[in-house]
Amino acid sequence: MASHLEIDQFLAGVERRAFKHAMFALQDHHNALDVVQNAMLKLVERYAGKPAAELPLLFQRILQNCIHDHFRRAKVRDFWVRLVSPLQERDEENPETLETLSANLESQWAETPEQGASSHQHLAIIEAALIELPPRQREAFLLRYWEELDVAETAAVMGCSEGSVKTHCFRAVNALAARLKKKGITL
């Protein structure tokens, strides 16, 4: 059974990456924080009795479930809002797509002339490339390479086969490489 200190240390080590995970998926600062908070609460309230070694896998599964739940709730909410809202046509005139969001992210740093702007530009381009990936590819890439889960653990978190994880990761790496090459970035 994990002690409170162990859970505290684990969460302290993972919370920033969890926030970035949620940001890549949700593209909203407040929603990302909400999702991370829900994941933390669920881990502590329901799985505090588990051994400390199991916490990383459990937390990633909870976090991904919280992100999916957020999308499900948003989908239901959007359905009812669109059904009753007279502003539907106005919303459709200015759709905020992933392309515009990632372009905004890149331009946020592209205009910085200060020293070190180059690395920030690289980061912004990498983050934009990650945002543009299909969600399952991004999820597989981040879990496999950032969270350093093995293929079986990534498959368990994503609820798919190990073969699917390998395919998602392969495609994600290729897509990222192509995108960065197009922007003239070499790592």
Partner: protein, 114 residues
């Protein structure tokens, strides 16, 4: 550079980005962590473990509730049947039912060993 090396170069850049998160976000994350741990301690202290368990295992809880309900209903039925048999014996006996409520009659039965 192979796929693994490329991926790790990307994640190294992402790690740098997490280190450079603004203070508002990092302090909010710390606050959320403390809140979650406090909620866990409160739950443990207040003994809400059974409620959490029932929430996590709704089907087992439902089956247990149904079993308890069926057992209670069967017990009630058996008691009702036993009472009915006693009532029938009382009504078909030569002795009037009022005699059983009579304290003197009970004393007389004990004293005569009946």
């Amino acid at each position: 550079m192979n796929d693994e090396e490329f991926a790790h170069s990307i994640t190294a850049t992402l790690n740098q980005a997490t280190r450079e998160l603004g203070t508002p976000v990092t302090s909010r994350l710390s606050e959320m962590r403390r809140h979650a741990l406090a909620a866990g301690r409160d739950q443990h202290r207040n003994g809400h473990g059974v409620l959490v368990w029932t929430h996590d295992h709704p089907w087992i809880t439902l089956i247990m509730a149904v079993c308890i309900g069926v057992a209670g209903w069967a017990g009630f039925q058996r008691q009702y049947t036993d009472n009915g048999e006693v009532d029938i014996q009382l009504l078909t006996d030569d002795l009037p039912p009022q005699a059983y409520a009579d304290g003197d009659f009970a004393t007389w039965l004990k004293s005569h060993g009946r």
